[in-house]
Symmetry: C2
Subunit: 402 residues, 2 copies
């Protein structure tokens, strides 16, 4: 089992350094660090997953290109402006950020990943960004600073690291993430940067990453809106030595467990810190016909505004769970299905259960609400995370003014 | 062109009668009419479209059965309880409602459509419902009363009728609808009952109905949550005489235009009266690669909570339109695309347009906001309707208590 490392982050694994600077990306007079670098002291095998939006940010386009060879050594990131819908100017600016970071760190331009989050449709102030990047000093304890620099309306930095055993050695895996919302919110942008000092073969890294992302970050929804800039990058630098970890080996299983543990925790933190959120919602679907149906049902419950509002109001409104399952298109056998909120069974064996109102209410109070449903049509299962819908969400997103 | 008939409804076409009664479906002591009948003095060719949810209400199941022969003569409807997730009891109750209405009206049980809207998972109080149905007296001016009896958290009844010419004769088509929300809100239930005194062949009726529903009711979204009880029924009784209207004739075109006009108006009214809504949003997509992509893009914009919040706050946040188009999966050519809010162009020819702040703000004020986007990838187009997201929506749906 991976072991938690207190105050861990992307720089906890050996050989990773990070640093930040104040560039004033959105407002020239801002004093908040808003650009940063993550750097490995040697090239890494690398994998990335990006937004599936048909409107993708220029940094996403450039990062896809740079990751095509499965290698990377640094990430340059900024908050404030997302560099989306800017045409050729946007692409040029994203490439220049990579070039500037490469020059600063003495590495190849195509070994730099670019990640920008913020307003859509604004030009990057390249003079200030260039100056900012030049000022960054990377340090072995800089990971949490970087987690702060990529925040927008996030209320807290999200960072984690774990220790794990693989091939008889002790390795470390770490991550930072930013979730939904900005001071100037245009999208629910999600970044997660993951690192490990274990040596991992490229094919193994890509495969494990995809399967872990599908179970963690891809199961988070704050508001159902998909960002143009979603980016998850995993860097393995091998600084802790040992034999390369290959697919379908016990070593790969241990590594997967570590990356899963880091990703799951960051995913839950993103959900809990959604815009305006007062409660984390965990949805557990079991007894589904297929994995795809289990995931669809779980995600549909987490995005339903009616369900999210009910959780906010601590309203034991299990009919909305049924509605969301039905809407998802997942097959459900009503005569075998079971639905619970917390430990309180709401529906079982074809009928509404008799529910104690006090128990029902308490199942919905507290900072984390669990919704479980067995669809009675198979044995596939999935877990998804979301948050409640509050008046605060509407306020944050209505009161933006240019 | 179909001509509007002031204060029209489902009983404006000849031969249609309606009436309501107080049954106390949800609360025995309620004084609000909550059951009703729509009746044609002769059998109708009939078509229906129902929720695609995998959790469908018992009334939907029974109505599908009764419409299988393409014939109907009455609708029995209630608000308060939806009769969903009630197993065999629910089916028995829905059938009994049809039987009771048939006995009252002296027609066949399988010529009665059943429509129930309200709480999921509660049993129907059949004693009170039976008594209510027996008390209903149908009248030729009862349509608007019926529109009221099916309301839940709707703030106003939705009814319309138009006159149209077909085969050299004058006919009438009418409709009533209920939209999203309930006093005890469990779902965004939508009912629309449409009538005409024109004689229409079954095949023609079914085909026209499907195509009109796809362009109108299926393009409305209040909150992205699909109800377990959505029901649209179209009844043609031929009471105004003349030759049957057949597919692919000029007469069918005129009839389609009338039904489209009735449906579009009801659809817009449903959107404008969404839970907590302060503004109607009309989204017009053009230049899409396919009709399906045009519809997906339009609907994704209408359901985006970020876009809906921005409209509420009169925030000229066109980046969120791009985000929603990207999320929808519709192909967009960024260098040719154009996006406007009202008459104000936000993005054109690969770049953000320069926008006058006062014009931008005024494009978002007023009771109706129009969002237009040309995707630059083809010539398909679609229109969708929705409403803004307000704190009131969250309040309505959080503050329900059992």
């Amino acid at each position: 089992m991976p072991k938690d490392i207190p105050n861990g982050s992307v720089t906890t694994p050996a050989g990773f350094l990070a640093g930040v600077a104040v560039a004033g990306v959105k407002h020239a007079d801002s004093t908040r660090p808003d650009v940063g670098l993550l750097f490995s002291d040697r090239p890494c095998t690398a994998a990335g997953m990006f937004t599936r939006s048909t409107v993708e940010g220029a940094p996403v386009t450039v990062s896809r290109e740079h990751l095509a060879n499965g290698r990377a050594q640094a990430i340059v990131a900024n908050s404030g402006i997302a560099n989306v819908a800017m045409g050729q100017t946007g692409l040029r600016d994203a490439r220049e950020m990579a070039a500037e970071a490469a020059a600063k760190l003495g590495i190849r331009q195509d070994d730099v990943i670019v990640a920008s989050t913020g307003v859509i449709g604004w030009a990057m102030p390249m003079d200030r960004i260039r100056k900012g990047i030049r000022q960054v000093e990377v340090r072995s304890d800089g990971g949490i600073d970087l987690a702060r620099a990529i925040m927008t309306t996030d209320t807290r930095p999200k960072h984690v690291a774990v220790e794990f055993e693989s091939n008889g050695r002790t390795y470390c895996a770490g991550g930072i993430a930013k979730g939904s919302g900005m001071i100037h919110p245009d999208m629910g942008t999600m970044f997660a940067f993951l690192t490990t000092d274990a040596p991992v073969e490229g094919a193994c890294l890509r495969m494990l990453m995809r399967s872990v992302v599908d179970e963690t970050f891809n199961m988070v929804s704050i508001d159902g809106d998909t960002s143009t800039s979603d980016t998850v990058v995993l860097l393995a630098n091998g600084a802790a030595g040992g034999e390369p970890i290959r697919s379908n080996t016990p070593a790969a299983d241990s590594f997967r467990e570590a990356i899963y543990s880091v990703s799951r925790r960051l995913a839950r933190e993103i959900a809990a810190d959604g815009e305006g959120a007062s409660k984390l919602i965990e949805v557990r679907i079991s007894g589904a016909r297929t994995l795809e149906e289990a995931r669809k049902a779980a995600r549909t419950i987490t995005v339903s505004p009616l369900m999210k509002s009910a959780v906010y109001g601590s309203d034991f409104n299990w009919g909305r769970i049924m509605m969301a399952i039905g809407r998802s298109g997942a097959a459900i056998a009503m005569e075998r299905a079971e639905v619970s909120i917390g430990d309180v069974v709401a529906y079982t064996r074809g009928a509404a259960a008799s529910v104690d109102p006090a128990a029902a209410r308490s199942a919905l109070q507290g900072p984390e609400v669990t919704i479980s449903a067995n669809l009675g049509t198979g044995d596939a299962s999935a877990v998804a995370w979301g948050c409640d819908l509050t008046e605060e969400y509407v306020k944050i997103n209505a009161e933006y003014t240019t």
